[in-house]
C-alpha cells in the first residue's frame, strides 16, 4: 500500500504547443509540492516506502494517451525534520518515475526513505514533463434520436486528423441519469467521430423535457453541448 498524498501545494501546469516537425504537438510541465508526512520509526531504523500521486487529481483532471506520451520526472525532499536524539538521520528520494495508467491518467511513483528519532520527510517537490500528441476538439454536439431506439447521438470534429492510435475523447455529464461511455475514440487518419449512438434509458427521466449537458474533453481542449431529453407520456 503506497503512502497517501495528503495535499499538493501550488500545483502548476504549463501547456506548450509544439509546432515543429514530428507527431508530438504538446509539452506539459507539472510542478508542485506534495505533502506526505512520512515518519521514521523511533528505533533509528532506515525505512523506505512508496508514494503515488495521480497528477490528474491535482492538475485539472488531465488525461494523456497511454500510447503517445513520454514522461520524465525529477523529485526531491522539500521539507524535513529530525531530533538531535537521533543516532542517524536520513531523508531521501531514492527513485522517481512517472507513467500513464490504463485509465489514461498520468501518475507519479516515488520511493522515499527516512531515518532518525522524530525523523519526518514532510513534503517532496516534483517536476514532471510529458511529451504527448493530442488534437483539439473543433466542434461537439449531442442530440436525442427516438427511433428505432432512444439514443443520444454524438457528433464530434477535431481540428485536424487524429494520429497514432486515434484520439481519445472523454465524456462526462453532471446528470447521473445519463449513462455515458468513459471515452470514445476518433480513429487515426480521420477528424470526425462518424456516429456514436448511446442508448438512452428513458425510464430514468421524468415525463416531458429534461435539459442535459455533456462535456467532451481531451488533454488540450474541452467542449460542452446540451440537448433536451424528451420522454413521452
Amino acid at each position: 500500500m503506497a503512502l497517501n498524498v495528503l495535499k499538493v501545494f501550488s500545483p502548476q501546469t504549463l501547456d506548450a504547443v509544439l509546432a515543429g516537425p514530428g507527431l508530438s504537438n504538446r509539452l506539459f510541465v507539472f510542478t508542485g509540492i506534495a505533502e506526505i508526512e512520512f515518519s521514521a520509526p523511533g528505533n533509528n531504523k532506515l525505512v523506505h516506502d512508496v508514494v503515488e500521486l495521480v497528477l490528474s487529481d491535482w492538475h485539472g483532471d488531465i488525461h494523456l494517451d497511454l500510447e503517445n506520451t513520454e514522461l520524465t520526472t525529477a523529485v526531491w525532499p522539500a521539507s524535513m525534520h529530525a531530533d538531535d536524539d537521533a543516532t542517524q538521520v536520513t531523508w531521501a528520494v531514492d527513485d522517481a518515475f512517472a507513467f500513464v495508467t490504463e485509465e489514461d491518467r498520468p501518475k507519479l511513483r516515488v520511493i522515499v526513505a527516512v531515518q532518525g528519532d522524530k525523523g519526518v520527510l514532510s513534503r517532496i517537490g516534483y517536476e514532471v514533463f510529458a511529451r504527448t500528441t493530442s488534437i483539439p476538439i473543433k466542434s461537439f454536439d449531442v442530440r436525442e434520436v427516438l427511433r428505432p431506439v432512444p439514443e443520444l447521438v454524438i457528433s464530434l470534429v477535431l481540428s485536424q486528423n487524429a494520429v497514432g492510435k486515434g484520439e481519445d475523447i472523454y465524456l462526462t455529464s453532471l446528470d447521473s441519469r445519463l449513462t455515458l461511455p468513459f471515452k470514445v475514440t476518433v480513429p487515426a487518419g480521420s477528424d470526425t467521430l462518424a456516429s456514436a449512438g448511446i442508448v438512452l434509458h428513458l425510464e430514468s427521466f421524468p415525463v416531458g423535457d429534461t435539459l442535459v449537458h455533456v462535456k467532451a474533453s481531451n488533454a488540450v481542449s474541452e467542449k460542452t453541448a446540451s440537448t433536451i431529453i424528451h420522454r413521452a407520456v
Binding site: L27, T72, W76, G125, R131
Partner: protein, 142 residues
C-alpha cells in the same frame, strides 16, 4: 537507487533542431565531508547517462539549462554542525559530450566511515549527500 536516467527529445523547426528534456538521479561519486565544512566538485557525463542525447554536441550550437537538487542526505548525531548544500551547477561540452559540474558542500559525517584515498577526515559522499536529482534541458541548432 541512482542513475535512473529519463529523457525525451522534441523536434523543432529552424533555427533550432531539437529540445532535450533530461531528468534523473545522479549516481554516487567520490567522497568528502568532515567535522568542518567541506566542498567537493563532482563531474558527470550526461551524454553517457542519457542515450537520447546526441554524442556529437557542438558548444557553438548548444544551449544548456541545468538544475540540481539534493535527493538523499544522511548524517549522525556525533556532529554539532550539519550542512547539506548544492553550491554551484555548471556545464561544459567536451569532445561532443555534455559534462555537468556540480559543487556540493557538506559538514559532518560518519566518524568510522572509510577514508577516500587514505586521506584522514574524509568520508564517503554517501554518508552526507548521497543522491542528487537533476533536471537539464538542452536546445540544439543544426
Amino acid at each position: 537507487m541512482a542513475d535512473d536516467a529519463q529523457g525525451f527529445s522534441i523536434a523543432l523547426d529552424a533555427p533550432f533542431s531539437g529540445l532535450f528534456v533530461l531528468t534523473g538521479v545522479l549516481p554516487d561519486q567520490t567522497g568528502f565531508g568532515s567535522d568542518d565544512l567541506e566542498t567537493f566538485r563532482a563531474q558527470y557525463n550526461l551524454s553517457e547517462l542519457q542515450r537520447v542525447l546526441p554524442r556529437n554536441l557542438s558548444p557553438d550550437k548548444t544551449t544548456v539549462n541545468a538544475a540540481v537538487g539534493l535527493s538523499s542526505i544522511n548524517n549522525c548525531d556525533d556532529f554539532n554542525e550539519w550542512t547539506f548544500a548544492v553550491d554551484e551547477v555548471t556545464h561544459e561540452i567536451k569532445d561532443g559530450n555534455l559534462l555537468l559540474n556540480i559543487v556540493i558542500a557538506g559538514q559532518g559525517g560518519q566518524p568510522d566511515a572509510v577514508p577516500i584515498g587514505g586521506t584522514p577526515g574524509l568520508v564517503f559522499v554517501g554518508d552526507v549527500i548521497k543522491n542528487l536529482a537533476y533536471h537539464v534541458t538542452v536546445l540544439t541548432k543544426p
